[in-house]
């Protein structure tokens, strides 16, 4: 199994995800510069967190138009797994791979803390390592994570089982207090129609190492590496 990470000017979680991938895949991910259209063959492409192009204009907007992203869109269409984390989620929305948009947090402030996520769909290459309804503890760190979409899109996401994670409390209940950013329906991560593209605001790569205080993010990378049977 091979993986690749797209690196933009201003990406800053590229190394963190590189380490998580190396650990689970047992091989080095290809680090692909945004200007390269030559994205190597990979079973998984990660669009990492950070502040691509300084979030100038709009978070993720400029990165979505980079040569590497044009190739990522093609690969996604061909069924390659694409994971966008934080700024990566914003980029996937801006590039049209996922519906909706990430607006400024409802509290208007940057928020960095552990949140709880309920796994809503375990039938994907990303989430099959989790049990249905399982509660994960994973950090968020963003200023623009407030997921918004029109009512029609939201009901499609629900009906097509495309919500991967929702913010919940420690016991798994979906409450307003558990929502760190005002996201519609407490959405923390969504899938495309085919289920091979996942965008999520929380950072699974940040709690994939016991020394950092938790390993709830690890099962995602293990599943993607094919270490967890489908």
């Amino acid at each position: 199994m091979k993986s690749a990470v797209i690196v933009f000017p201003g990406s800053n979680c590229d190394r963190d995800v590189q380490i998580a991938l190396r650990r689970s895949f047992g091989s080095e991910p290809a680090m692909v510069w945004h200007g390269d259209e030559d994205v190597p063959d990979a079973d998984l492409i990660v669009v990492p967190g950070g502040f691509s192009y300084g979030d100038y204009l709009r978070a993720g907007c400029m990165a979505a138009h980079s040569p590497a992203m044009r190739e990522v869109v093609k690969r996604a269409g061909a069924g390659v797994a694409v994971l966008g984390i934080c700024n990566g989620f914003q980029i996937l929305c801006e590039s049209g791979l996922l519906p909706g948009a990430l607006m400024r947090n409802a509290g208007l402030r940057f928020v960095c803390r552990d949140v709880h996520l309920r796994v809503e769909n375990t039938e994907t290459v990303f989430t099959r390592g989790y049990a249905g309804g399982e509660v994960l503890r994973i950090p968020v760190a963003h200023h623009d994570g407030n997921y918004a979409a029109d009512p029609e899109t939201l009901s499609r996401l629900v009906n097509e089982n495309r919500i991967a994670f929702r913010y919940c409390d420690m016991g798994g209940d979906i409450t307003e207090d558990a929502n760190p950013n005002g996201s519609a329906a407490n959405i923390a991560g969504i899938l495309n129609e085919a289920g091979n593209v996942l965008g999520m605001m929380p950072h699974p790569e940040r709690l994939a190492d016991a020394a950092l205080g938790g390993t709830d993010g690890r099962a995602m990378f293990e599943a993607l590496a094919g270490k967890i049977a489908a």
Binding site: P9, N12, G54, F110, A141
Partner: protein
């Protein structure tokens, strides 16, 4: 200001030079300066750049130890952390700009200190800060807190360096002068450290980073004068930060540093292109010639005066080896940053600037630096603190009520509201997050950890500068020890009022003397630092605030301690408790009094207690540890209980003092520890000559002092977590 501007006495005064200083300038130049030269002397001889009031006294601070690779004098201090690696760190103030424009002032403070660290070849791995604001009731405080925190977060988060902790206090003395001190710690290979001394006659002098604009002209001069009612008008002198460019600059510089192209490198900080070029020429004992026409500018018709004095951010100056220009250019073009060869190294030891082929400045560098003014300003002993009354209004308040009020007071409540706005986890090495005694970041790819803390207790420094200076260093050492680290070195950020007032110089010298004693006794040298004077508005000075940033090493992060109390452990107090309530928070918050001498620091006991604790953490016999500071014993225990979500039952014997004084006094050199094997710990402490007292056991969901009603953790948590968000929502 054009080249033909006439140099009048008024113009000289506006540039902050005294008559004597100007006379010395004339001697050095042998003629009247032009406006560019006057501007350059003005910033180089400002308090901010020349340390003219403080230099003499700073020499008293110990700066050496076997593990010190580079002490003060470079962009940042460098210490050996073993395995061929070095930690590079410094703290620096951005006080004046942050008061005028809190978001940009704080943001560019972070940007500046990051550059000081990566210019030496280190990858920045952690940011910290030390913040002081005016009283919460002051009309401006909320706005300033909000802007400063957002600015620190906005910059650090984007750059992708975790902001892992810091401190934040409130006091009326900062109403007109807040303090924003930012610290960065980086890691480099010990044999790949970059310095600023230019060398190689004829080598290219290269400008990289952002273009130069008109922002920040005279920033260094502003930082060298008091504020008055017109200071708002100085808003245009505050620089604007671009953390995205900084991130690119970090990556581009580190990529270039991995080659062998660089001879010398220096960031453009205060006084921009002036101080960076003078510094490089002076250290290298060479001359530098710069062509103003080649400097990348973002505004039209900028004069040499403006170009040389601009404090535009995210810029660096380098000297490259011959023939390496193209390698360097390719890297900076990849990162879409400006790259321009703007001059060369000469053998003249002069700073020569040209514009349109004409010389517009020609200054001999050695006297510009060596003959910078140096003052031994008069000192007066600060007045003795107000005496402590026999009985205070706080003595009658039940200890439980006092505890709830203290943990919910502005200076002791949780800082979660602040640190949740900082990305403290990016880089995936933060193994102790904010909220404990020290933050700990893992040294990437190893099992080692760097423990980092910032500390200062200005109310002690005000009441007794010498004890306060000692305590500030001791507390930093203690915080690192409480995490299980070997404290190695400090950076200091000395914030004081107007040095032309003898009582302010008295505070400054007293604090330095106290710090020097503690640094020596604890083998904890100063390797870098910054002095910020003139923190006064209309003659009202801040409390003396010598902030300390301490760094230590943990050999194995599996063997570190946190403040979180675990169930079923014996709780012990280490150190001597006399119930010293002078200058305490209990006295101020519960009794409404700021009086009494601060607690004395016994440096021998400090060292013995700390060395004992460190050993117990390293061998795994102590699993939770917290140093006792503001609020004393009971506040520390409450913080441990909240962090671990575990209660405790303790019994206290106040001995010769009263129970409230025992609970809330701020005697120094003390720790609370929790251990599974209490008997063993007692025996070992006694053998080590360390005072140890068993207090009780951890368990349940309340804090109970025998003979007093239990206080539920929920009550404590609501008080502790409630103040900051409530205040900011105000």
């Amino acid at each position: 200001m054009s080249a033909s501007t006439e140099i009048t006495p008024e113009l000289v005064a506006e540039h902050g030079l005294t008559d004597d200083e100007y006379r010395n300038l004339l001697t050095i130049m042998g003629r009247a300066p032009n406006i560019v030269e006057l501007g350059i002397f003005s910033v180089m001889w400002s308090e901010h750049c020349s340390y003219k009031s403080s230099r003499h006294w700073l020499k008293r601070l110990p700066t050496e130890a076997p593990w010190v690779i580079q002490g003060p004098g470079e962009n940042a201090g460098v210490i050996d952390i073993g395995d061929g690696q070095a930690a590079i760190f410094k703290m620096e103030s951005h006080n004046h700009p942050s008061f005028i424009e809190p978001y940009q002032g704080a943001a560019t403070g972070v940007g500046g200190i990051l550059r000081d660290v990566f210019t030496m070849g280190a990858r920045p791995v952690a940011n910290m800060n030390a913040l002081r604001f005016g009283h919460p009731d002051d009309a401006k405080t909320r706005h300033l807190v909000s802007g400063v925190v957002a600015g620190i977060g906005g910059y650090g988060n984007c750059v992708g360096v975790p902001t892992v902790g810091g401190e934040c206090d409130f006091h009326h003395a900062y109403d007109g002068n807040i303090l924003v001190n930012a610290m960065t710690v980086g890691i480099a290979d010990a044999d790949r450290i970059f310095y600023s001394a230019a060398a190689g006659i004829g080598n290219a002098v290269v400008y990289v980073g952002s273009k130069t604009g008109r922002d920040g002209i005279h920033g260094a001069t502003m930082a060298s004068a008091e504020f008055d009612d017109d200071s708002e008008e100085k808003r245009p002198t505050v620089q604007v930060g671009d953390p995205f460019t900084e991130k690119l600059l970090i990556e581009a510089c580190l990529e270039l540093m991995a080659t062998d192209a660089i001879v010398a490198i220096q960031d453009m900080g205060a006084a921009g292109l002036t101080s960076s070029s003078v510094e490089m020429a002076s250290k290298g004992e060479v001359g530098i010639e710069l062509d103003m026409d080649r400097v990348p500018v973002r505004e039209e018709a900028m004069t040499p005066y403006e170009i040389m004095l601009s404090e535009s951010q995210e810029r660096m100056l380098m000297v490259l080896k011959p023939g390496r220009e193209d390698v360097a250019r390719a890297i900076f073009e990849k990162w879409e940053l400006d790259f321009a060869i703007i001059g060369r190294v000469t053998d003249t030891q002069r700073l020569v600037l040209t514009e349109g082929g004409e010389t517009v400045c020609d200054i001999p560098v050695p006297p510009l630096v060596s003959e910078a003014p140096l003052y031994q300003r008069p000192c007066a002993a600060p007045p003795a603190p107000a005496p402590l009354p026999e009985q205070t209004p706080a003595d009658d308040v039940p200890i439980g009520d006092a505890l709830i009020r203290l943990v919910g007071s502005p200076d002791l409540c949780s800082r979660r509201w602040i640190w949740e706005q900082y990305d403290h986890m990016v880089m995936a090495d933060t193994v102790q997050r904010p909220g404990g005694d020290a933050a700990v970041v893992r040294v990437h790819g190893t099992q080692k950890g760097l423990a980092i803390t910032t500390d200062c207790t200005p109310r002690y420094c005000y009441a007794d500068p010498v004890q306060g200076g000692r305590q500030t260093v001791a507390e930093a050492w203690r915080n690192l020890t409480a995490a299980g680290a070997r404290p190695l070195a400090v950076t200091d950020n000395l914030n004081f009022g107007n040095p032309e007032r003898p009582e302010i110089m008295g505070q400054f010298v007293g604090c330095i003397d106290g710090m020097a004693e503690a640094c020596s006794a604890l083998d904890f040298p100063v390797v870098s630092g910054n002095v910020s004077l003139y923190n006064e508005t209309n003659g009202s000075a801040i409390l003396p605030t010598p902030a300390i940033g301490g760094v230590g090493v943990i050999d194995d992060i599996e063997r570190m301690a946190t403040v979180a109390l675990l169930p079923d452990a014996d709780i012990f107090l280490i150190g001597e408790t006399t119930g010293h309530i002078g200058a305490s928070l209990w006295l101020r918050e519960i009794g409404g009094l700021e009086a009494g001498a601060p607690p004395p620091v016994d440096l021998a006991a400090e060292r013995a207690n700390g060395d004992f604790i460190r050993g117990c953490i390293a061998d795994g016999s102590v699993n939770a540890c917290h140093d006792l500071s503001g609020g004393g014993l009971l506040v520390a225990l409450a913080e441990m209980a909240l962090a671990g979500d575990c209660g405790a039952e303790i019994a206290l014997d106040p001995g010769k003092t009263s129970l409230p004084h025992f609970c809330f006094g701020e005697d120094q050199g003390r720790y609370l520890v929790a251990t599974a094997d209490g008997e063993d710990l007692s025996v070992r402490a006694k053998a080590a000559g360390v005072r140890i007292t068993r207090l009780g056991r951890s368990n349940g969901d309340a804090l109970t002092v025998a003979g007093h009603p239990p206080i539920s953790l929920n009550t404590l948590r609501n008080a502790h977590e409630g103040w900051f968000p409530r205040y900011m929502a105000g």
